[in-house]
């Protein structure tokens, strides 16, 4: 299953802060698109707007040609759009299997099978019956990814999947993403890890002050002076929280 994700002129302000300002982005179906930009450029806000956690002030969001602007998070998920969070969110008091069962819409037996498959796929199956709260940070990220996959979404948004994760695990993640992509799943990935982004993505978009300043193939974007400007112009590039 695959679909195109498109935004048109999204604007969103919080009080006096204009987080998104005319953001237009197209994520082609079946592609892995990277979204980079300095801190405060609006990446997570864009995710929130697209997935229904926030409503945009203006602008439209299209999933597979269908307009989903302002739809609730529940509905957006049902339409085939999944996401992960910058600060990993799981259900700590449910077991790993139960975490996955929340997302699958199927019967119990089919759900259990799918849960097992996904745990194997992400490599955390040995903890299947344990409470999710006991997992390490990296394992939680994998669980979160597995949970999103449980409903077989057409488009997946990943918010800093490699953040705070060791290099081996990052390779593991990248491989899993490529596997899924080869079956058609579209990805939009926010990341600060340039190596990860440049090595994995088909195209990269750069967000600065709430709008897309550059978009194109990774090598082209990496050498575009506007990108360097965006990152180094206003503030030093550091690993910090929050958009």
């Amino acid at each position: 299953m695959t679909a195109e994700l498109r935004t048109e002129g999204i604007a969103k302000a919080f009080g006096g802060v204009q987080a998104l300002d005319g953001c237009t982005l197209t994520v082609p179906a079946g592609s892995i698109t990277g979204l980079i930009g300095p801190n405060g450029s609006g990446k997570t806000t864009l995710f929130n707007v697209v997935t229904g956690y926030e409503r945009p002030d203006t602008g439209q969001v299209y999933l597979g040609g269908q307009r989903i602007t302002g739809a609730s998070a529940q509905r957006v998920f049902g339409l085939g759009l999944g996401r992960t969070f910058q600060l990993t969110r799981i259900f700590p008091r449910l077991t790993l299997v139960e975490n996955l069962l929340v997302a699958t819409g199927r019967s119990k037996a089919a759900g259990l099978t799918r849960a097992r498959e996904l745990l194997e796929f992400t490599g955390i199956a040995q903890h299947a019956g344990e409470l999710a709260g006991t997992l390490s940070y990296g394992q939680r990220k994998l669980l979160e990814l597995a949970t999103v996959l449980a409903a077989e979404p057409a488009v997946i948004l990943l918010d800093e999947p490699a953040g705070g994760v060791n290099p081996t695990l990052i390779q593991h993640l990248a491989a899993r993403i490529r596997d899924l992509n080869s079956q058609g799943t579209t990805f939009l990935i926010v990341e600060h890890n340039m190596e990860f982004v440049l090595g994995l993505c088909h195209q990269v978009a750069v967000l600065d002050y709430g709008t897309v300043v550059v978009a194109g193939p990774p090598e082209q974007v990496a050498s575009d002076p506007r990108v360097l400007d965006a990152y180094l112009g206003a503030a030093p590039d550091e690993e910090q929280d929050g958009e």
Binding site: Y53, Q74, G78, R89, V97, A115, R116
Partner: protein, 357 residues
């Protein structure tokens, strides 16, 4: 992996591990649990035969009513994490549903029992508008709203004409022999309690229960994964209301009178919370244990020391002790100790086999 092997593995993976507190609150050993449940049920059924005195069966009746109400409370509040301090609203509504119904339709004798489904309907029906208002707010505010609802209902009971005002309503006379008068009530309460625990258990194993618990852990995330949060919460709330309402109706006929202070009693709400917490919040057996321990104790204290205040102080102190030292309740804490003790014992039996602390 062959498909069948995957399925077998999946099924095995889905069961809680040995020794770990399973969702029933007890160590996961199905045969042991089944035997235990049968024993408890048998004891409960034979209780009035072994202790036929009206005092004993009254204790029994009260305790069973609380088993039902605590389980119902836990089924909503324990699973979803939305603590309700207003369940007395449902209880009292059930009380007055039967009281007013018996009075207006001139029912007497065993016919009054026919009003019990009405009590359940009223309890559940009231939960719908209340839930639609209260379940849209965050948890802190939810608790306060339930308290507000409680006071509104108590006030209505005091002030509205059809509820008989401060003096309340009196039940029609039931012409049963004194010695065995309590017994039908006891068994009705036992049936209700048993059904409630069974429902609680079924929910715990179901997708519905899973959704509730996901809501408890992270409601927004649950919504983002497709859980229809409001509908799920409301359904549990209505179910809780219906059961509690039915209990109220039954209790009314047993006591024989409906009055605002007793039908809508804040200590009722406290007792429910305490019982569920004591036994183990969010487990199936927890509220049962809590009710079995706390209700008889409270009754005994009230009988022994005629003024209420001592039981209040003790109840409050017990509550504090539970919160501070056994926050997850007796059953989960006990099974954890048990698991740890067993692991230590195993280690002592096989020295050098394990070096894990």
């Amino acid at each position: 992996m062959t498909p069948s092997a995957v399925r077998q593995d999946a099924a095995r993976a889905a069961r809680p591990r040995r020794g770990q507190p399973g969702w029933s609150g007890l160590p996961a050993r199905p045969l042991l649990i089944a035997a235990g449940v049968l024993a408890v049920v048998a004891a409960a059924v034979l209780f009035p035969v072994a202790f036929p005195s009206p005092v004993a069966t009254t204790y029994g009746f009260d305790t069973l009513i609380f088993v039902a109400c605590a389980s119902a409370w836990n089924l909503f509040s324990g699973y979803s994490g939305y603590l309700s301090l207003g369940n007395a609203v449902f209880f009292g509504s059930g009380v007055y549903a039967v009281a007013v119904g018996a009075q207006d339709w001139h029912l007497t004798g065993t016919a009054v029992f026919g009003l019990l489904p009405l009590a359940a309907a009223v309890g559940g029906g009231i939960a719908i508008p209340l839930g639609l208002i209260a379940l849209r707010v965050r948890r802190h505010t939810f608790v306060v709203i339930t308290i507000a609802f409680f006071f509104i209902f108590q006030l209505m009971a005091f002030n509205l004409a059809f509820t008989g005002g401060t003096s309340g309503l009196v039940a029609p006379i039931l012409n049963w022999s004194g010695a065995t008068y309590n017994n039908p009530f006891y068994y009705a309460a036992l049936l209700l309690a048993g059904a409630t625990v069974a429902v609680s258990w079924l929910i715990r194993r179901s997708r519905f229960g899973l959704h509730l618990r996901a809501i408890r852990d992270d409601e927004d995330r649950a919504r983002g994964l497709g859980v229809p949060a409001l509908r799920v919460k409301l359904a549990a709330f209505v179910l809780c209301g219906a059961i509690t309402g039915l209990a109220g109706g039954l209790w009314y006929y047993f006591i024989g009178a409906a009055a605002p202070q007793s039908a809508f009693d804040p200590l009722f709400d406290l007792a429910l919370v305490l019982m569920a917490f004591f036994g183990g919040l969010g487990t199936v057996a927890g509220p049962v244990l809590g009710a079995l321990v706390i209700e008889p104790t409270q009754q005994w204290l009230t009988a022994r020391f005629t003024s209420n205040y001592l039981s209040e102080i003790l109840l409050g102190a017990l509550f504090l002790v539970v919160i501070l030292f056994m926050p997850r309740g007796v059953l989960p804490t006990a099974s954890e100790w048990l698991a740890r003790w067993r692991a230590a014992w195993r280690r002592r039996r096989e020295p050098g086999a394990e070096t894990r602390p």
